[in-house]
Symmetry: C2
Subunit: 350 residues, 2 copies
DNA sequence: TCTCGCTTTTGGAACGATCCAGAACGGCAC
DNA sequence: GTGCCGTTCTGGATCGTTCCAAAAGCGAGA
């Protein structure tokens, strides 16, 4: 009753050819819409394809054509909405172009990244979109990827630059500029003691955002205390735990530029638990503009990165590279935009 | 300088065989760890594999073996953290077992679902995990999938049951029981006028949750007004917009059982905008226990579904089916657990 | 009828792996 | 030397497609 019938032998080109009395080659031409086949023949073949329920075997075709119809997407953290939306954008654009997305998650582990890269490469992707794990480095990635597929680096740079590095395309966010904008905004609001909260110094994007913060502070002739640089994992949970570190400083800050939205939302919670009202007693900004940012209480001032759109862009860049393997490698820096909301209040004393 | 060198011809079994003077067949045996090859031969071959930087071509192997090493994962909405975490769980378990995840997003469109299914099938996945779009129906899915791969239905049932339906495995959440628990909890807190907020009646999971709510209300001999059933898309944004509908009712409710966490968080925002404090002036519950639920202000009482774990489970179920294609189809209902937090306060008048 | 040129069709060799039947080898007993 | 056995290795066919060179079909003009 509920047992599965045996999966019947797959229908192949030969079956179709036999079914309507033409050669395998002709059926193949029909499938690919060649103008060489006669109208009537085409119609007969197409009927037969439908009748037998034929499904194209792309793997076999790719083998013969030495082509590929898939792109590997390797992410450090799918649970982060920023990457989830990015992935949705990648898949949308790839799917529209007839490519299929091979997914791989690394969970911020460089070892898993190696394993995942190796495994996905065996499936012969035409290209790779890689958002590297925090400790990932160029040498190891090069060792496993080599010249087997073009690579697009997203969001973070890799540690340990190599000569071959120039062969990889890059799609980065304008981290330094964005953090600078956020910091300038807080300064304009009247803050003088501003912390930089969250992220690890291992990550290039974090270093860049920190640099933007420092740049803005120095330009405004404001000091930056070592106490005002608080590291934590780029997750809500860890940020909430580390919130208290802000108030261990000798000069306690009145505002914080956060590494990203996840960290900022976590910090809000941490402040809340200390009896402080974010957006009233303490100002903060995020980075990424994930969906929750607009809906938080208070809503979060942040830098919009349009992750879905970045995903589509990444897909475009990889497909472009497939068409022109010899073109010079490109380094794209996506602009970010300051979105002012409630969390970036003036300091309470002002 | 920064131009790409031509991607060299791929290293194949033949190259390795020639390189260490054995036959192609022997190299193949080495790759698969066969005990038939002599220890010394094995060592020589393995050296050569490393020396030439060989990468296994799984597509070619699968073609000959008529096997598959991939599973298709088709989701209605990756931007929802519930599904993103589910996807991470699926990928984790599949990756550990040597499978690769073929990703496809449908964006709640049944047409896209058809297209995505068709496209992914051409890559010959060994199985399919499908979280259907809202309007998806069994007939259309059967027409494109047929017997070409075993299918696991996740989270939602399909409209329009068919005789062949029994061939598909299912992994569902215990929606009715969960919603009942949430409703009973609110009743125990002292609420009498409770609404059911969000979701569409098209979705089987929504109907089940609503049924659980009705069950609890009737068991407690409480009335349910038609005004207290407010539909909206299962997203934060739409829920926020529809919040006011709660107060159009003749008897305004003091609490709401929400379709899921996204809706509940959106409703919180909507309440906030009306000057009501969720968790103080109005009680609500969610469903899913996504990461934000614990961190909200107030934190959200909800039903824990452990999406990451559900993902791993889904992967296990599909792989199990691959090993035993003939076994009876299984319908798994994953338990859910009530997590009481701040949002489910007693009614203000109590 | 024969040849030319154009359209349409075709057989067989790839692609890179696996499978299978049997070969080569060495040792050991007769 | 011969037969037998177990271990180790191998050539060729095969999976489902594409490519290519060449064949077949067909009017028209000589």
């Amino acid at each position: 009753m509920s047992s599965h019938a045996p999966i019947g032998r797959k229908v192949t080109l030969n079956d179709i050819a036999a079914g309507c009395d033409v050669s395998r080659a002709t059926v193949s031409l029909v499938l690919r819409g060649s103008p060489l086949v006669h109208k009537l023949t085409r119609a007969r073949v197409e009927d037969e394809l439908r009748r037998q329920g034929y499904v194209y075997n792309r793997a076999a075709a790719n083998l013969r054509r030495r082509s590929s119809s898939s792109i590997a997407l390797i992410l450090n953290d799918l649970a982060n909405p920023f990457f989830a939306e990015f992935a949705a954008g990648v898949d949308e654009a790839l799917g529209a172009a007839g490519f299929v997305t091979l997914l791989g998650c690394t969970g911020e582990s460089a070892e898993r990244e190696q394993a995942v890269l190796g495994s996905l490469l065996e499936h012969g992707p035409g290209g790779i979109i890689l958002s590297p794990a925090e400790r990932s480095n160029a040498h190891d990635v090069l060792a496993v990827v080599g010249r087997r597929a073009p690579l697009l680096l997203f969001n973070r740079e890799l540690g340990g630059t190599l000569p071959e590095f120039a062969h990889w395309d890059q799609l980065m966010l304008d981290n330094q500029h964005g953090a600078r904008l956020a910091t300038e905004h807080l300064i304009a609001r009247g803050h003088r003691r501003i912390a930089f909260f969250g992220g690890h110094h291992d990550s290039s994007s974090c270093r860049q955002r920190h640099a933007g913060y420092v740049e803005a502070m120095h330009t405004a002739r404001l000091r930056t205390e070592p106490d005002w640089r608080i590291e934590c994992a780029p997750t809500r949970l860890d940020a909430a735990h580390r919130a208290s570190a802000l108030f261990d400083a000798t000069h306690t800050p009145t505002a914080a530029v956060c590494y990203n939205d996840a960290v900022a939302l976590g910090l809000m919670l941490g402040l809340h638990q200390r009896g402080l009202r974010p957006g009233q007693d303490f100002a903060l900004t995020g980075f990424d503009d994930i969906a929750e940012a607009a809906l938080g209480m208070p809503s979060l001032t942040t830098l919009s990165t349009a992750p879905h759109e970045r995903g589509r862009q990444a897909a475009q860049l990889v497909m472009q590279r497939l068409q022109q393997p010899q073109a010079a490698s490109c380094q794209t820096i996506a602009p970010v935009q300051l979105v002012v909301r409630e969390s970036s209040c003036p300091p309470p004393t002002a």
